[in-house]
Symmetry: C2
Subunit: 199 residues, 2 copies
DNA sequence: ATGCTTTTAACAAACGTTTGTTTCTCGGCA
DNA sequence: TGCCGAGAAACAAACGTTTGTTAAAAGCAT
């Protein structure tokens, strides 16, 4: 009954083309604002043809969101558990996050905005993964305060949400082919955000 | 031919009830994810009955977004053109923004996330108003740098987007009846964000 | 000729909206 | 007080379209 989980292959093939088109459209128009016919047009195929490669519209969203969160966690979590000081680790996490956004801003838009439309069966897992991600930042923040590196009087919850808010908004304005590289943008944001919490 | 522009009345009446319900649903499920039947159910009325009070689904969005942006501009713009130092003005703008969000987080979600779904006739005006709003922050930022109050080496564009990103994300987590008042949350965020740009 | 993929056509359901009619509320007049 | 008509609101039903999805037939490789 439980079908094999379909994995997102970065390789070629019609399946990857569909997923890329879905990322673009879900990011631009939202999940509920994108129809299967929109998607088929973008791919260059008739609507029914899509179902030879996908299970359902929602399965597309599940795969994009799950894979997207995975990329963020994979890129950021090692720094959270790293060896350096909390300050350096937080800086590295911010840069890594921006780099993942720059790699594909549309996917990031889907990950951060469209996850609400996951069905009841896949939503809990996605929320849990998001909390794992937020937990990385909270952990480093707590350690920073514990070591006297961050201002003790800051509200940790609000500081984390401030940082995550700034980060989550980046796909709205970041252009991967702008003058600055993702690494430079990330460093500038880290500079700005870190000074707000340093002791 | 041009009908009178319908104004958002804070007063009672079925029209206000519809607008409030639309704010809640558009904020939670998105504009395209909310059907007229959803809205009618929320109001407690049959779908067709709504059209005695509204012109169309899109007209609802137009009114909510236009009124919402207006509230933010009204609350923040005076501080941008105020007499104090750029530092104090930026702080006051951040606090004012958070206060408007706290006043109605759902409306803020619609303003910042759903404006994309405005039709071609109303979208340009909304974008222009948003740019006016962003311009307030850019202006103060420039003056702060000009007066040597803000670090000259910061990238002003990125600093503004970092601040606005943190602010635009607040409706996702801010609860108006939490332990902290909106004014306190705004002050804490301003503290965090301002130290990142101070010279 | 056997497997994929696409096309074609259609399905039931949900979409935004309009219509004609009923129900409710309330002020004025006898 | 009792009746009446006016206005506002909601109902019930349907409209044409679009939605996600499917089944059968056709195309095309190996």
């Amino acid at each position: 009954m439980m079908a094999d989980v379909q994995r997102l292959e970065t390789g070629n093939g019609p399946r990857a083309a569909i997923l890329n088109a879905a990322m673009r459209l879900f990011g631009k128009q939202g999940y509920t604002g994108t129809s299967i016919r929109d998607l088929a047009t973008e791919v260059g195929v008739l609507p029914g043809s899509l179902y030879a490669h996908i299970q359902s519209k929602e399965a597309l969203l599940v795969e994009i969101v799950a894979d997207g969160i995975h990329r963020f966690i994979t890129a950021v979590e090692p720094h959270a558990h790293g060896a350096g000081s909390p300050v350096d680790r937080l800086r590295a996490m911010i840069v890594a996050h921006v780099e993942v956004v720059a790699e594909n801003p549309e996917r990031s838009l889907v990950v951060f905005h469209q996850w609400r439309f996951l069905g009841e069966s896949s939503l809990p897992a996605a929320i849990e993964r998001r909390q794992v991600y937020e937990g990385c930042f909270i952990k480093v923040m707590e350690e920073g305060v514990g070591q006297g590196l961050f201002k003790p009087e800051i509200n940790q919850r609000i500081a984390v949400f401030t940082i995550l808010g700034a980060l989550n908004w980046t796909p709205e304005w970041l252009s991967p082919d702008g003058r600055l590289t993702a690494q430079e943008v990330g460093s500038l944001m880290a500079e700005t955000l870190l000074r707000g919490v340093l002791a």
